[in-house]
Amino acid sequence: MTPQSSRRRLLQATASAAAITLLPIRTVQATPELLAAALRETFGDTEIRRGRVKLDIALIAEDGTIVPTTITVDSPMTETDHVKEIHLFAERNPLPRVAAFHLGPHNGRAQVSTRIRLAEAQRVIAVARMNDGTLWSDEMQVEVSLTACGG
């Protein structure tokens, strides 16, 4: 064996080891494609329009492990005109689905608050389904000081 080839093999081995180490990180990250797939699975081909929904999160989340989130939908919440569901998605978490809330006219006000995890700076999307079947949304780009992963 020449010193040249053993050096080459060492380099190859190092490269493949690095690839293996990186792999699990890559597989647990959602992508815009995964988000698109989740949206399609939940809403089919129905058009999602911007408006009527207000997503309220701090622009810079201090702690990604606990991010206060409020969704408010402009709706009279009557028998004939109300929000049926609110779906929350995060584009770059391991799974894009965060939570879904089921409401009706008995709620009186279409507002839900919760606390979510954000693995890194990313787009958060809220989609509301009305009783007439229309879909309305809002989204926010949230920066994260301390991320929810790697601990």
Binding site: A90, L95, H106, G108, V112, T114, R115, I116
Partner: protein, 106 residues
């Protein structure tokens, strides 16, 4: 098992919209994190929360691993009559936790 924290007003006027706040103590292990020796911590999350008022479901939440530790949710309910609120949490190991409280409407 788990401690819960709920806040619902004790009294309301007919037609008044009251806020319900509910939290349960739960690790909400996402299944994506590793323990101190590098072994994955199995997923253990609250998957469903429901609120019924006067025997009827008025709110339901489906939680996924991206909901923070000690799942918290706040929402509104229109007070119609003096009746009982029943809050139920279910986790992915089948644990069910229930809390009840009465709202006086006058």
């Amino acid at each position: 098992m788990a401690r819960t924290f709920i806040r619902i007003p004790a009294e309301a006027k007919p037609g008044e919209i009251v806020e319900v706040k509910a939290m349960i103590e739960h690790p909400q292990h996402s299944g994506f994190r590793l323990d101190h020796v590098g072994k994955p911590i199995p997923r253990h999350i609250v998957t469903t929360f429901t609120c019924s008022y006067a025997g009827k479901e008025v709110f339901r939440a489906d939680f996924h691993p991206s909901v923070a530790t000690n799942p918290y949710v706040a929402f509104f309910v229109r007070a119609t009559a003096a009746a009982e609120f029943e809050l139920t949490w279910i986790d992915d190991r089948g644990t069910v936790v229930k809390e009840r409280t009465t709202l006086n409407v006058a």
